[in-house]
Symmetry: C2
Subunit: 536 residues, 2 copies
């Protein structure tokens, strides 16, 4: 470890070690910090060691914790030993174990040692890095790391600081979308006037994340002006540029003003990929802002063989992905790049007297408070820096490829079993599958499904439409699997099809877990298919 830096405090009487002065009663006493910190490290290491002992999806009932905790805060201190005991006994049972190797739900929340350590350092320093001045390292490391990561993704130089764009760490994609939407909104309102806010229109597909609708709502976009382009199975649920153009044209003819398109690389339901190039071409014709949401799939575009999924990003105005999803960086850490930072800062800048300082006035520094919703901000770049350095580009690619490989293994199992089918082509490390309609129909006579026994969950009319039957069986499969606690998956419904999502990406997952997961799926499917009485 290096020296303590260049600076020595000039007043010798202040060189006294803080430990020499602070009583042990100080809530930041260094030696007590050390003692308790080591205890919690061991606690968490043991948690990871034992994580497979817990049901992945928490099996508690609503209100479980209220029954176990007191109704008011303690008046006197309690020991860390007591508290950790309560964490183990009362909190752990109520946790859904996102770090479990048997976690295949939603998208991963892939932690890592490096990400954890970076978060520890940031928490230890506990600086409030709203502007450069308040902790120059926080701002400068963020800018540097965002350029590193932009290069790894081969983003166009126009998105990097080295090319007059720039990157910023937001908490979540929701925030990234809201910031860029507000920037786009105000860019137009500065031209047409604030009174015309009701004329602004925004666009997405029916597969776009719900964060966008919420952002539009928050930004005061008239709910009647929120356009959703329908997608279909035939195009794997990607947005159709022609349909987009037709919708925009109709809006413009109606006197409305299109301002923003949200395109997605890796949708939440099926990891569909919108065609960035053609969509940006349409948007360009109307002077619209295009934001590319690659929250999940952005990570893997650091691998050359996956980079083509963001081809066309050069036509967009902003791009984001979540390092806290599938990039080994703990929650929260959304990486956002914009071509025109001034569009953000024109909407989001503040300049109160109590924050004025010479560095800001020199215009030689970035003040990230003007790139985001909030004023205060954590030192998030530390964890991303530690992840990039601890693993390096090569290993990071290797980790991500191993997840894709495991998803391919699972896909192979599905394809080899004629009771199952893959619903949409797999792009990344998420397999969308279901018990196939033919497997369900074979169990019931002439398309009429008999009542499914042992079901408290599904309404059970004696006859249903074929699609309804198939969906019901698959919903029952998912609930049965998750209720067992062995593995955890989640579902979606696209084009009327209820599908199960098998998303590989938890850091501890290895191929053996995927093989075991497939056994679990098969066992539960077997039981459910056998519970369908044949009704001929």
């Amino acid at each position: 470890m290096g020296s303590l830096g260049d600076f020595e405090f000039p007043q010798s009487n202040a060189l006294l070690n803080i430990a020499g002065r602070a009583s042990n009663d100080n809530p930041l006493d260094p030696e007590e910090f050390r003692r308790q910190g080591h205890m919690v490290i061991d606690f968490i290491a043991d948690y990871y060691k034992n994580i497979e002992k817990y049901p992945v999806l928490s099996q508690v009932e609503p209100g479980y914790l209220k029954k176990r905790l007191p109704t008011s805060a303690p008046f006197y201190p309690e020991s860390i030993e007591t508290i950790l005991g309560d964490v183990q006994d009362h909190i752990v049972p109520g946790i859904t174990h996102w770090q479990s190797p048997n976690y295949f739900a939603y998208f991963p929340s892939s932690g890592s040692i490096a990400g954890f350590l970076g978060e520890m350092l940031a928490t230890g320093f506990n600086v409030v890095g709203f502007n450069w001045m308040s902790s120059p390292a926080a701002t400068e490391l963020e800018s540097i790391v965002m350029d590193w990561l932009g290069q790894m993704l081969r983003l166009p130089k126009s998105f990097l600081f080295s090319g007059n764009g720039g990157g910023v760490l937001q908490g979540t994609t929701c925030e990234a979308i809201l910031c860029t939407l507000v920037a786009a909104r105000d860019r137009t309102l500065r031209i047409i006037g604030n009174d015309n806010i009701g004329k602004l229109v925004v666009y997405c597909s029916d597969q776009t994340h719900c964060a966008f609708k919420k952002a539009a709502q928050i930004a005061g976009i008239n709910p009647n002006n929120f356009r959703v382009i329908p997608t279909t199975l035939s195009t794997s649920f990607s947005m159709c540029p022609k349909a987009l153009r037709n919708t925009i044209t109709a809006d413009v003819e109606a006197g409305l003003v299109p301002i923003f398109l949200l395109a997605t690389v890796g949708t939440t339901s099926t990891t569909a990929v919108d065609p960035l190039g053609p969509l940006c071409d349409v948007a360009k014709d109307y002077g619209m802002w295009v934001h590319v949401d690659a929250a999940y799939a952005g990570s893997i575009c650091i691998c050359p063989e996956f980079r083509h999924f963001i081809d066309g990003v050069e036509g967009a105005d902003s791009f984001s992905f979540n390092a806290h999803k599938w990039f080994f960086t703990t929650l929260d850490c959304c990486c956002l790049w914009v071509k025109d930072p001034s569009a953000l800062t024109q909407s989001l800048s503040t300049d109160p007297e109590y924050l004025k300082n010479k560095a800001t006035e020199s215009k030689q520094v970035v003040d990230y408070k003007d790139w985001q919703l909030a004023l205060s901000r954590r030192f998030r770049s530390l964890k991303l820096w530690l992840v990039l350095r601890s693993y390096g580009v090569e290993k990071l690619r290797g980790f991500l490829r191993s997840h894709v490989k495991m998803a391919k293994v699972f896909q192979g199992f599905v394809e080899a079993d004629n009771r199952f089918e893959v619903v949409v082509p797999r792009n990344f490390a998420n397999v969308c599958f279901r018990i196939s309609p033919s497997a369900v129909m074979n169990k019931s006579s002439n398309g009429v499904l008999g009542e499914i026994t042992n079901s408290n969950d599904i309404s059970s009319p004696r006859t249903k439409t074929k699609m309804g039957m198939v969906n019901e069986v698959n919903q029952k499969l998912m609930e049965s699997i998750n209720g067992s606690g062995g593995i955890y998956m989640t579902h979606s419904v696209v084009g009327g099809i209820y599908l199960l999502r098998f998303a590989v990406g938890a850091t501890l997952t290895q191929e053996s877990h995927v093989i075991e997961a497939w056994n679990v799926v098969k066992q539960h499917a077997h039981a459910i298919l056998n519970s369908i009485p044949t009704t001929q």
Copy 2:
């Protein structure tokens, strides 16, 4: 420590210890986690131990870090030893040490061992607690802790879950304000129609935090409808209810629609307190939403003798304070309570297929994603729970009172030295002071200030107004002190008066640091006053 909880994973072949399977190459390998985790605990403990060796305000120049780091991410892994060495050599010099006992700037960012450990646990579990289902403990602990804290503040029961209101942990006050503003906006728009968004008006004082203006901008409130009530020194910069009423009346007469008042307890510049009762009475007459921003001062209202500062809160609709400011909880952690959670959820709810689940449908659970801007959320309640339990109500009150006591000591020094004056009465642990006009004038003849020597910073016309002279001297004092690195303070300007803020609250600060800080102030003031040439 207790058992591993009730549940035992039913399939015995999955009971294999993860450490038995995972290679050391796994980025979440438990034993490697343990090894590196202990190293970083020691690193941070040593940082606290040595923190007084560093200049409080970082003394680096813009761009310092770019010169020290490579231009791209490493291709191959680097060791934690190398990385920690770089943190020490390159990051620490660029940090402004908010945890230093000599930090008196802005407001404190008071860390604690308990807050740190809670953050570690949350980072270790790394759950994404957007709804109840995704980790019941995260939601339930938050609701419980917010009721505990609400009781400690003696908030009216209508703000607690036990009284049909409820609390939520936001990241920052900025987010809390934006959420409540959007709720208030939509409550009105549901009645008067979305087309009338341009008629909505919001109110605050000229001392209100800039977060409110930014929130109004984001929420699409017409910038022309942002009303700022002027304050004066005569009322210690608190908002005048009569002036508010007059402004509202004029707006209503002009056909506009008042929707929201932001009242502050403990303003950023001078910790002024707006009169909540009378302001809420005015707002009530117009059906407006009142949010009380007690970001800084809320903490100390857990002490009975300070509780009166939030008297009248029962008339408000929402109340927030930052546990990450002056409540020993690391950044970020803003506590927000609302009387009517449905107002929030009506604006902020999302219900996509991929998040549907039976717990939500049962309406027996809280889904906090619908109480905040973003979908994803960290397990923030753990750190607050650890703070409340590790210290207990009694010690927490004691810590806060000790900071007030130290601020009183500093105030005594200022008052006893006739070269200085306290600018506004001290309410909490922040002293607003300056070199007095008489001390400056005594050094220059008949109100004409001679050129201040050795000043690169201040424009130096030969004559100035008296107020300009006094402000210039005080600005020079602050810059001189901060440039020394010994202590760090920040400034504000209120009613044309440039003042220095001495905010006590860093966790490691003890009375000896305050005494030493006053010596630093005196030394620099002496030098600056002596550098004013008499010009008779």
